[in-house]
């Protein structure tokens, strides 16, 4: 019988489920309870595919000592004139704080994965604000739940059970007391949980959101975005008539045509609805601590992502200092990638530039980015092998746990090492 850890916080998605039971034997996770399949795999496979300290020599990644890898990383950043620090989302907030300090120290740019997922959400909120709430408010009160452009049944697997569809809340109990709507370009497993599916034409979300706003303000509309007028009216009536409504939205809204304007329309729709009833909206954040990256950057620099320190103070400009744009234009001359795998997700042009410049990767596992790197520094897995804070998709902070020892130092220790070396010389 191994050691049992209870109420462990899951370091996978923005749901940050904190009721996991993890059993450890001989320094390895052998089983989990309450974990979704993705989480379970992350825990059980924690020791698989681990990265090794490597430095590229004559075009080949050669295994070296940790010391040498960290020295090389410091040297690359030191010699760079316009470096980029990118990622941050899959580590804890102390490491994120150090990453910001490093960016400030070297006068570089720093960006989180938010710039390629919910960046538009942030930009829209900066324009008009947002009406948000924690997930417990949804569990206890929401009788109307709308999933828009997201697929929690496959991406945020326990969201529906813990927060939004089936839980027994204080004032709403179970699925029968909630009305669930799914708005998307196609039916998915999420549509199967829904009482109403609204099929929107791809790229027409802005139009549909605007039509709903119009109906709620008392105007007549026809068919919009492939949705019949009658259905729009019905949905608008439900929104106005519920006691507590919420929209959860995902990449379908942030990364389709219109981007932050889609979110702007959604935020304003929700704002308008508060003239009639209580209505809220919350983004479905992906990585378990991408929300934390935004919090940390904001309290230190004032800005949530796409920040540059070239002038000695923080400057913010998505499109100018966001990672994809910096890379695509070939502007940065070195990169430090922390807790993310951009090569797996970025457009090819951006990835090509990453491969061209000296890139340092800090990652517990072998990733696509680590394969093109100049230096690879393996680290402990935050939330399994090291502690720290993570922020849930609704901003609730929780403390990640350490359940097994790591052969490698934590992100925090590695960044401290790099900073020490740079300040020392």
């Amino acid at each position: 019988m191994g050691e049992v850890y209870k109420n462990v916080v899951c370091p996978f998605c923005g749901c940050l489920c904190d009721d996991l039971e993890v059993v450890v034997e001989n320094g390895k996770v052998v089983s989990t309870k309450n974990a979704c399949p993705i989480s379970k795999t992350k825990f059980l496979d924690h020791s698989k595919d681990r990265a090794k300290p490597q430095v590229r020599k004559d075009g080949k990644l050669i295994e070296v000592s940790m010391e040498e890898a960290i020295n090389k990383a410091a040297q690359i950043l030191k010699e760079s004139e316009f470096p980029l620090i990118y990622g941050l989302s899959s580590t804890e907030s102390d490491a994120q704080r150090l990453a910001v300090e490093l960016a400030e120290f070297i006068g570089g740019s720093i960006d989180s994965t938010a710039s390629t997922c919910h960046g538009p959400t942030i930009v829209a909120a900066q324009g008009c604000g947002a009406v948000k709430c924690t997930l417990g408010e949804v569990k206890n009160r929401a009788d109307l739940v709308i999933f828009w452009g997201c697929n929690p049944a496959e991406a945020h697997i326990r969201h529906s059970v813990r927060y939004s569809v089936t839980p027994q809340g204080m004032y709403v109990r179970g699925k029968k007391e909630r009305f669930i709507v799914h708005v998307d370009v196609r039916e998915t497993r999420t549509s199967r949980m829904a009482d109403m599916f609204v099929k929107v034409e791809p790229g027409k979300d802005y139009e549909l959101l605007s039509a709903l706003r119009a109906v709620i303000k008392g105007y007549e509309v026809g068919d919009v975005a492939g949705v019949p007028a009658e259905m729009i009216k019905q949905l608008a009536e439900r929104m106005k008539g519920c006691r507590f409504g919420i929209i959860f939205f995902g990449m379908g809204l942030t990364m389709s045509s219109g981007k932050h304007m889609n979110i702007d329309a959604a935020l304003r729709l929700v704002r308008d609805l508060n003239d009639h009833t209580k209505f809220t909206i919350t983004p479905m954040r992906g990585h378990f601590n991408v929300a934390g990256a935004g919090e940390v950057l904001t309290w230190i620099t004032g800005y949530p992502f796409a920040v540059n320190f070239s002038r000695g103070y923080p400057n913010y400009n998505p499109g100018e200092f966001s990672a994809v744009d910096l890379l695509f234009r070939g502007e940065c001359d070195a990169a430090l990638i922390l807790a993310s795998d951009p090569v797996a997700h970025f457009p090819i042009g951006a990835s090509q530039h990453l491969a061209k410049i000296p890139t340092v990767v800090i990652d517990p596992k072998v990733s696509l980015t680590s394969l093109i790197a100049e230096v690879v520094i393996p680290c402990a897995i935050a939330g399994i092998e090291s502690e720290g804070t993570a922020y849930r998709m609704d901003g609730v902070p929780l403390r990640l746990r350490k359940v097994v020892d790591s052969p490698y130092p934590t992100d925090r220790e590695i960044l401290e090492g790099i900073l020490r070396r740079m300040k020392g010389c």
Partner: protein
Amino acid sequence: MLIKNGLVYDPLNGIEGEKMDIFVKDGKIVESGDGGETIDASGFVVLPGGVDIHSHVVGSKVNLGRLMRPEDHRKDPVPKTEITRSGVGYTVPTTYITGYRYALMGYTTVMEAAVPPLGARHAHEELNDIPMVDKGAFILMGSNHFVMKYVAEGDLEKLKNFVGWLLKATKGYAIKLVNPGGVENWKWGRNVNSLDDKVENYGVTPREIVRSLAKVNEELGLPHSIHVHCNNLGSPGNSSTLIETVGSIGAEMGGPGSGESTNETLKGTAERIHITHIQFNSYGGEDWATISSAAEEVAKTLNKKKNATCDLGQVIFDDATTMTADGPWQHKLYKLTGNKWYNSDVEMEVGAGIVPYTFKPKSLVNAVQWMIGLEVALLVEDPWRVVLTTDHPNGGPFYHYPKVIAWLMSKKAREETLGKIHKSALSRSTLPSIEREYSLYEMAIVTRAGPAKLLGLKNKGHLGVGADADIAIYEFKENDIEGSFSRAKYVIKDGEVVVKDGRIVKEHWGRTFLVNPKGELMDEMKEEFSKYYTVSLDNYPVQPEYLPRCEVVPCR
């Protein structure tokens, strides 16, 4: 360390402008010294470090305020130096800049006035990134599920248990109430409009919540009183709500404290109440067109009621970012202004709202608001029961405190501003006719000695032997009061010089103050917790890792 020949103002020890030497050793003020650094303070005034009793500097709501105002930050970028980190200032400064700017004006202790329990971990993370000052966190309880449940059941024992436990679990310092009951109703899109309106589903009234928490506060022996943001904040005619709230404490509850005995207040048996940002709750009139000052009436109430204290929430004519846990008020302000609006409700506990705002001298309402804050400060006779604040960043950013000091100390400074405001405002307040000018001694009371005393911080706010060596030294110029207090000549924090000639010379890390009252969670609370929260009880209390530097302040 020796601070030589300064003109010392130390109200808690009755010292008013005496030329004397102060000795410092190991971060404390001591009787006599044996060498070390000597600071020649000849011609300077020497004061205890400033204490801010109410400011919004960290946590989920403040950070949303930062997030939503990039346009604001661009007006005030702050570059890094050899010693200090970079950031932004203006209305919602970043954590580092917050610490530096407080220190530059000689403030060394700051209380974050509104922390939702579920977000306490976040608040402490940010507090740990505020350099220079000591700090603490007030915990929001006025619309907490368990609080309202036990108030409804009339079970003060359970309430006491819960409150004590919650303060320990959140590593908080004091009990904060914001629009008690109204914030719960806001979760259904509604509010309460009087002290006797019912909170939906709970059946309790704001009056019962305030009175019960006031009682529990004293039974737990907490160093500070309950800290109250009243119902109906921001609305014309709301002074009656404020006066009723003050009146509800210590009356009818029976037992000690029901009278107005100063003795009992001092012995710590009477119930106390601190009304925060009193300006926002001292409005007469019936609507925005007829709004007027009710400061005279409010001051009269405070002059009579010795167990009530207040801070100002003074308005500054400048940009502000309003942010409170008062969700329904923030929604109203959004509807009034059309400015952008953030709302953030927290399960089982509280909510928050944020709306950018600009106070303009030519706006009638803003002009009246500006007059009220100063009027209260000048009409309340006892300076020990008034504290200077702007409710940062609601009335304006904290670094404008020296402006407020100038208005309080100089009728001429007030007249200059009175000449710039909306003319119709002049007849709606008694401010133009008030002659009183604060002395330096009184100024030292409302900015350091008083708040330290109200917070129960025995080692703060004075320069007696044993006090923390937090000292501010200013070059005081009568013809430039604002300038005198904007940039301290020297600031000493825990015995080290951290500011010299208006510049940060050393980054220093202060401590976080906590309380450790009695109170344990009972089984029935645990059961309900697991039913309705979305986090496990195990993961709820703030872990010791978030308090790397802390000090427990004993209960009374």
